[in-house]
Amino acid sequence: MRETLHEAPDRHAAPLASLCVGRLLLAVPLRDLQSLEPILDVDRQNRDGRSAGTIELRTGPCPVFCVDEALTVVGEPSPDQRICAILAGGEAGSFGIICSAVESLGGDALASFDVPACMAAADSPIDGLALHGRRVFCRTTGAALARFVTTGSADEPERLLEELDPGADEVFA
C-alpha cells in the first residue's frame, strides 16, 4: 500500500537521478538513466502524435518525448530544455525525456514518502515523493514513465483489466 505519508526507509538505498522539467522535479532510479544527449541530436523529422522526434543510438532510433510540468506530453520543448535524458523503459525499450537539468541524488540524504491518498491517481506514473533539503521530487521509474508518455497511462495492461473486472483471473484460472 502507498497511501500514507510515512517515510519509506526501505526505498532510500538506491541512488536516484533527478530530471528537471520546469518546476517539476522527477526522480528515477539512477540505473534507469542510460545516457545524456544534446537536444540538437534529436531528429524532429521523425516525430509522431506523441513523440517529439527520435535520437539515433547505437541500438537504433530511440523515441524522444517532451512533457510539461503537469506531465502532459507536448510537441515542443521550452527554451531552457536542452538535455535529452535517455532512460530504460523496460518492455517499451529506451526512450528520451527532454529536460533542463539532470543531477544525481545520493540516497542517504533523501527521505521518501508515499503519495498522499488524497492525491492518488490510478493512471499516474508517480509512485512516491522524495524530500532532499527543501526540494520535493516526484518518484517514478523509467518503465512507468515510458508507459505514461507512450499511452497516457502508467497502468500495466494486466492491472487495467483487473480494475475493470476484478476477479476475472479466478474465472479463467
Partner: protein, 174 residues
C-alpha cells in the same frame, strides 16, 4: 456538554470547523507549494513542514464551492491572500499509522469556537453531496450551519476514487 474547536474560513462566508486538537499550526507566510502531476485539482501539491511532506487541500474546491479554473492552484488562488493551516488527524486504522499531518487553505486566520450539545443540527443541503467528509454539523449564532470536517476521510479520498473503509470521525459535538 461542550467541545472546543476551530472555525475555518474556506471561501467567502463558507466556514467549516475542526476539533481543538486537530489544528496544529498556522503558517505565517504562504508556503512554497510543490506540484504533484495528475493530482486532482483540490489537492494541487504538497508543502514541506518540519522536514515532512504534507499534502495540501483546498477544501472549497473539494466541496465544489469554488471554481476549479484550470486546476492550477496558482491560477485558482491568484490575487487571493490565503493562509495555510497544518492539521493532524488519525491515520487509517487498517494501516495502523497513528497520527498524520495535512494542510488546508484558508482565507482567514482560524477562530476558536466552543460548541455545546444543543447546537447540533442537520447538514445543510449544499454540503449533502459530500456528507461523508463531515463528522457532524452545528449551528453558529452568526454564521448558521457549520459542518465539522472528518479530516481522516478528507485526506484519505481524492474526490474521484472510492472511499476507503475504516476511516472514522475524530471529533463529534453531538
Amino acid at each position: 456538554m461542550s467541545a472546543k474547536g476551530w472555525l475555518l474560513s474556506i471561501r467567502g462566508r463558507t466556514h467549516v470547523a475542526v476539533g481543538a486538537r486537530e489544528l496544529v499550526y498556522v503558517l505565517p507566510e504562504e508556503p512554497e507549494i510543490h506540484g504533484v502531476p495528475l493530482a486532482p485539482a483540490p489537492t494541487p501539491g504538497v508543502i514541506v513542514w518540519e522536514n515532512r511532506v504534507v499534502p495540501l487541500i483546498d477544501v472549497a474546491l473539494r466541496l465544489g464551492m469554488a471554481d476549479e479554473g484550470t486546476g492550477n492552484l496558482t491560477t485558482t488562488l491568484a490575487g487571493m491572500h490565503y493562509f495555510v493551516a497544518i492539521v493532524a488527524f488519525a491515520g487509517d486504522d487498517l494501516l495502523d499509522v497513528g497520527v498524520e499531518l495535512g494542510a488546508l487553505i484558508l482565507t482567514k486566520v482560524p477562530e476558536q469556537v466552543e460548541v455545546s450539545d444543543h447546537q447540533g443540527r442537520e447538514l445543510p443541503p449544499e454540503f449533502e453531496p459530500h456528507a461523508e467528509l463531515f463528522a457532524s454539523c452545528f449551528e453558529h449564532p452568526e454564521l448558521g450551519a457549520v459542518p465539522i470536517l472528518d479530516l481522516t476521510r478528507l485526506f484519505a479520498s481524492s474526490g474521484y476514487r472510492h472511499e476507503r473503509a475504516g476511516a472514522h470521525a475524530w471529533m463529534s459535538v453531538q
